[in-house]
Amino acid sequence: MSRLAVPKTYKLYIGGAFPRSESGRTYEITSAKGAFLANAAKASRKDARDAVVAARAAVSGWSGATAYNRGQVLYRIAELLEGRREQFVAEIVDVEGASAAKATAQVDAAIDRWVWYAGWADKYAQVVGNANPVAGPYFNISVPEPSGVVAIVAPQDSSLLGLVSVVAPALVAGNTVVVVASQRLPLSAISLSEVLATSDVPKGVVNVLTGSPAEITPWLASHADVNGLDLAGAGDLDWVDLQIAAADTLKRVLAPEEVGQSLGRITAFTETKTVWHTKGLI
């Protein structure tokens, strides 16, 4: 007789905890063939706001950590993902209906992308910063800093790789993140949250909402305590309205697009700070 499996309850990830939606709502996640897989939490406006509060609270700690430390913490996520490869592959096979080979390729690419971004943490400032030769007795230097809280709509057609491709670059600079997972493919997002919760990423640095991006994202786009909006996975939403809502607080916005890996995705949510230091007379 085969053993009866113990299925997982998929919940939200907010402020380092795994709450259900305060609304009590869930929605069914099905396999590619339509079979029931799980009930995911359907996040509400209040969940989104709670997530922003948690993300804001985490900004000073995460952005204040040394770049070396952030790089190590991000690299450790890749290590933990590596140890859970089989779980992610199984979830992707189930929910996407992908072959094991394709699912494995996606997980491997996602892990490798974490490693790529982790390595940028203590280098990108050297590449995009500057010492500026101003005409005067000043030491003038430009350095990038994180924008703050970044709200992200994850690519909707990818379980893990799409999610990693938008979350990792935002974290590199020291931003904290509220990410709306793929509506249809959210299982990897919650499993990734479990990885984050057991790694050294401080609570609130990444917050994961599952549910309807069309319902949740407007509240994030208009939220005055959100500094950046990545609409990578919002191509099928009324994303122009979201960009218009974001303009009220002049958020930095990335329009929907195919997401790869680039330094540009790191710098998209950074600010250049230029400091003029007066040189004294000797």
Binding site: V127, V128, N130, N132, P133, V134, A135, G136, Y138, N140, S142, S147, N227, W239, V240, Q243, I244, A246, A247, D248, T249, L250, R252, V253, A255, E257, E258, V259, G260, S262, G264, R265, E271, T272, K273, T274, V275, W276, H277, T278
Partner: protein
């Protein structure tokens, strides 16, 4: 006769040869506009300087079409070194006509000639020299090999530094290989039109630079034009917000340099003489018509009385009056509308309980003037501590600890600039790290340089002008 009395030393206007009326500069030639022309007046006398053409939508179409044609047929095909040579030519012509441009700027804007002569115009030339050299070195901007220009840039600039803002916009755009349509503010079109003459003298291919004049009704169709690839705007946060909304969904590259409410933080160990001069320069430079002005003075409690007393003494020596007089420190407010806004907010400051002090100086009979004013005992909730006044009005707040100074400095939706005054280097570094602002001056204020990126955090906008960052914005990066 006191030591403050002085003989007038007006700069000669003989160097200026203005026309009675100016057209739009489209496709390398001046032409009449479709709208009703308007007068540009001297804010110090309220007398008319010249009639300025008013661009309507058809004119905007024509200007964008000229820019597109120039982009496709000539400018994008030129080598970087040839683009650079054109920009070097412009830089030299600007230097050669520097005195004329300074006089025109002071006449039209109201700023003291010593500022237009020693700050604005030299920086304008420096900006073109700096970006001229970038034109054939785009591989080194940091976007990978051979980054492509974006196309046609729509550029809308404010009235506070008319020619300097033109240089900030046009120089990097052209160096990167774009063509431009630029609209100056309606009260300060003059130097942009003189610049158009320089463009002709430099023999720039027609349509690479187009200047259209007019008010918001000329700017809106320009920003919204479907054949525009870049929108660069410097001005108020409300207009910047409207531009961000109107360009949403278009995938136009948008660069916004908006308002500010900078904190100028003075610690008790600050070099006090330099700090007083820096505070004065921070808020009274250009009549306070400066988006990065140090309009909130945060002074450590223990030195508050000394700083405020010395500030008042220093302000009492400032000379307000004829912008063309070489002795003048404070010129005219640029327009009646701006003067009204400064008056309104200052009245609100008094009504909300802050202590008002105004320098005793004679106000000329005609023109728009506002004497240097300090509000003491301002609290963070006062409107004069939150809203951009854009005039010669300083709000004074106090703090006890560095942490309190940082919290108060960051307590604003703006994030353009900030100042730190202290003798302690390690404190400068620590405080600068914590301030959420794009430009920070330590033991100085209001310094600008073409090699130094300038731009804001938060609701002060996005994108940077100046330096390597400034040209990167006008190029297509390898992204995503």
């Amino acid at each position: 006769m006191t030591f403050l009395d002085y003989a007038p030393a007006p700069e000669s206007q003989a160097v200026l040869h203005l026309r009675d009326e100016y057209g739009l500069f489209i496709g390398g030639e001046f032409r009449a506009g479709g709208g009703t022309p308007f007068a540009s007046i001297n804010p110090a006398t309220e007398k008319q300087i010249a009639m300025i053409a008013h661009a309507n939508e058809a004119d905007v179409d024509a200007a964008v079409a000229a820019a597109r044609k120039a982009y496709t047929t000539t400018w994008s095909k030129l080598s970087g070194s040839d683009r650079g040579k054109y920009l070097f030519r412009i830089a030299r012509l600007l230097q050669e006509r520097a005195r004329e441009l300074a006089v025109a700027e002071s006449l039209d804007n109201g700023k003291p000639i010593k500022e237009s002569r020693d700050v604005d115009v030299p920086l304008v030339a420096a900006w073109f020299f700096y970006y001229a050299g970038w034109a054939d070195k785009l591989d080194h901007v940091g976007l990978g090999a051979s980054p492509a220009p974006r196309g046609v840039a729509a550029q809308v600039i404010p009235w506070n530094f008319p020619l300097l803002m033109l240089a900030w916009k046009i120089a990097p755009a052209l160096a990167a290989g774009n063509t431009v349509v630029l609209k100056p503010a309606e009260t300060t079109s003059l130097t942009a039109l003189l610049f158009a003459e320089i463009v002709q003298q430099a023999d720039l291919p027609p349509g690479v630079v187009n200047i259209i004049t007019g008010a918001g009704d000329s700017g809106v169709p320009l920003v919204g034009h479907p054949d525009v690839d870049i929108v660069a705007f410097t001005g108020s946060t409300p207009v910047g917000r409207a531009i961000a909304k109107s360009t949403a969904g278009t995938r136009k590259k948008v660069i916004l340099e908006l308002g500010g409410k900078a904190a100028n933080i003075v610690f008790d160990d600050a070099p006090i003489d330099q700090a007083i001069e820096g505070i004065v320069n921070g808020i009274f430079f250009n009549q306070g018509h400066v988006c990065c002005a140090g309009s909130r003075l945060l002074v450590q409690e223990s030195v508050h009385d000394e700083v405020v007393d010395r500030l008042k003494a220093r302000l009492s020596t400032l000379r307000l009056g004829d912008p063309l007089d070489k002795n003048t420190d404070i010129g005219a407010i640029n327009s009646a509308a701006q003067l009204e806004r400064i008056r309104t907010l200052s009245d609100v400051g008094e009504a909300e309980g802050a202590e008002r002090w105004t320098a005793a100086c004679e106000i000329p009979a005609n023109g728009f003037w506002f004497a240097p004013t300090i509000f003491d005992n301002v609290s963070t909730s006062h409107r004069i501590a939150r809203e951009e006044i854009f005039g010669p009005v300083l709000s004074v707040l106090t703090f006890r600890t560095p942490a309190e100074a940082i919290a108060k400095a960051n307590n604003t939706p703006y994030g353009l600039s900030a100042g730190i005054w202290t003798d302690k280097g390690s404190r400068i570094l620590a405080v600068a790290d914590q301030l959420r602002a794009g430009v920070i001056w330590a033991n100085t204020f209001n310094r600008f340089d073409p090699s130094s990126p300038f731009g804001g955090y938060k609701e002060s906008g996005y994108g940077r002008e100046g330096g390597r960052h400034g040209i990167a914005a006008y190029l297509q990066g390898a992204t995503k």
